[in-house]
Symmetry: C2
Subunit: 400 residues, 2 copies
């Protein structure tokens, strides 16, 4: 058996980031920036007022107090979006709104709250130094500053920063497209009639949803345990997607393991036992002219799900141009757990992030979707550990 890290290293060695392209800002949401993006414009791009008030020469109101206010005639008014290049003459003032272009001459803004709010003549009750309530050009971002580095995932604030900087078409890597192929002659579309021996397909839904949750797109397919159908599906889908994910058909036993039987002769696909539970039998390789990565995951839903998080999710990250990491936290077990010697266990549990505790769930068998649906974390128990008591600290993966 190979350690988890050996299989993951094989995966990551074979996966290349997708080719970047320019997208509009809304289409770029959730994508990953493919180049360092520098500011073509300063932010703010012009001196502007941080308050509603009056633009003045600070020297003109240096003596102003509540008892002895200074009066200045109001020469004009400037609102946000007003593109006139006004000038404030000494001994006068201009009404100014938040975000409005600072007129020439004026060096400070007096908030309306420090005045009588006059519209012909304004009385000032307080003085202020030069620069008061003025947002200087470039104080947030100077021209040429690195706005966002390559590899940045574009969430709301990052999209907004690109918008503010006028970067309307950033160079990004799009969401990878996965073809998810559930194998098994026993599988029937959920809700359709079921004979004894048949089950409703859940794996294609599980893995497609997990792909979407991890920043990819996914299409679902289902094929029976028939090597011709299997190879046909792989050949049809490989040119249409960025990665292929099969579930089932990889166990150790048999001639009925259709994925393994179909692909085990191929040079670029490896099947191996990985020292983990669940999820021991794993296949990975590249197929077709485009050398599309292929993940052959085990068929038990929990095994497929754990395998997805350990191997496919990092590959999706790598395709997107993100650094592929599986974030691991430490948490204290509220109950004891057992684990087989020689395998790393990934047990289903519920994580209390505030208390830093994790509670193992009942029903850890790898077909138990009922348990999986209540899990918020995977509890990791190392290969050489067979038991952890309540109160022990261990590694956990928080499920997204």
């Amino acid at each position: 058996m190979d350690p988890v890290e050996v299989h993951l290293a094989q995966v990551l060695a074979a996966v290349r980031p997708l080719a970047p392209a320019r997208y509009g800002l809304e289409a770029a949401e959730g994508c990953v920036l493919a180049e360092d993006t520098r500011a073509a414009l300063a932010l703010p791009s012009f001196d502007n007022s941080a308050m509603d008030g009056y633009a003045v020469h600070a020297a003109d109101i240096a003596a102003a107090t509540a008892e002895d206010p200074v009066s200045l005639p109001v020469a004009d008014e400037v609102t946000a979006g007003d593109t006139r290049q006004l000038t404030v003459e000494p001994g006068s003032c201009v009404i100014i709104m938040t975000g409005a272009l600072m007129p020439g001459g004026a060096d400070t803004v007096i908030p309306v709250e420090w005045t009588d709010g006059g519209r012909e003549t304004a009385q000032f009750h307080r003085a202020a130094p030069a620069g008061n309530s003025v947002r200087r050009r470039g104080v947030d971002v100077a021209v040429g500053d690195l706005l966002l580095p390559a590899g940045t995932r574009l969430g709301p604030a990052q999209i907004a920063l690109l918008a503010a900087g006028g970067n309307a078409h950033p160079l990004v890597r799009r969401a990878p497209v996965a073809a998810v192929i559930a194998t098994g002659s026993e599988l029937v579309e959920p809700g359709q009639d079921l004979a004894p021996g048949q089950i409703w397909d859940s794996n294609s839904y599980l893995i497609a949803a997990a792909v979407r949750r991890s920043g990819g797109m996914a299409r679902r397919h289902r094929v029976p345990d028939d090597p011709v159908a299997m190879l046909g599906a792989l050949e049809a889908q490989a040119p249409l997607c960025d990665l292929l994910i099969t579930t089932g058909g990889v166990s150790m036993g048999g001639q009925h393991d259709v994925v393994k039987a179909s692909l085990s002769g191929w040079d670029d696909v490896t099947f191996r036992k990985v020292a983990m539970q669940p999820g021991m039998p794993q296949g990975f390789g590249v197929i077709g002219e485009r050398r599309t990565p292929l993940f052959a995951l085990p068929g038990n839903p929990v095994s497929a799900f754990v395998s997805f998080h350990l191997f496919v999710r990092p590959a999706l990250d790598a395709l997107r141009g993100l650094t592929a990491t599986t974030p691991v936290l430490r948490a204290t077990l509220t109950d004891g757990v057992r684990s087989p010697s020689g395998k790393r266990s990934y047990l289903r549990g519920t994580l209390d992030l505030a208390a830093r505790t994790v509670t193992p769930l009942n029903g850890q068998d790898s077909h138990r979707l009922g348990t999986l649906a209540h899990a918020t974390a995977l509890i990791i128990v190392g290969e050489t550990v067979t038991e952890l008591a309540a109160g022990a600290e261990t590694d956990v993966i928080s499920l997204p």
Copy 2:
């Protein structure tokens, strides 16, 4: 000024969950279950094999050892998806694959690894009690068990559990649709020509992306500082969406505050100062025949973003049928922070979840998108606290 909780309570008192509807499983991804969903079928729905091996009567091989194996004739073979109701006669065995329907008569499965793998006659090297490697009908979920309670967000494992149970059309609440309206005559579409005094609109992108990141859908709009245009946009959009979100036009100063000027006479819309920084001026109410919730957020991008997380995100949760909570963690400050007396501060920082530390970022002014784009958390400093030193523990909101 009102505390944050007072404004949030007004919001949540006015927001009702959306009407539920039945969706297909892929459309239901990310939606919230609107009713307790019980199992119509047991999981597994029939006794089946957990391994590739042989279905036998346990008594027939009770004496089997490696030195003295027991031989049984192979009567048949059953694969996953085989719907025949086979029976294993005493003194014989049936080859069985993982997931295949357990034949009648047989009470245990012997893994192929404990045999010679024979196809005419099989030699058994180990005995096993009844029930070995057999997944009993209903062991994961019994008929009538609560599969998932109302209020469950349907992620990959929950969708898969519904699929496995044949619940192809769950009753869910869909993603709320928000109309995001950025106000300001200074706003120009990113990338288009800019005169001094104009800025590229980032707020509509920021808030629309935040809505989508929080499980909603969003359309962006932009209106100038013109009450007629503003009211026209509100009246046009209110019947088409589940909530309205405006940015800008709510500050304390002015006749140019278009949102406030347009709506402050309305009975069902309240403008108030909330004791927080950034984000002090807030408006909220319901408008139109459908009593559509309206959030009037301040116009500085950071203020709008913080306001979104404190007030709009909980409302989106409530519309979806989720319990509206803003998860707060404790973390240790790596640097000191200051905060005004009488206001609760939400400072931008970077959170190290593993180390439980949070680092305040430089540039906390509410127009600084450059800082916001690097933040992964909001650091909360209470109303009565004006300073926290490095090493102090404080509440933080982890940004999604």
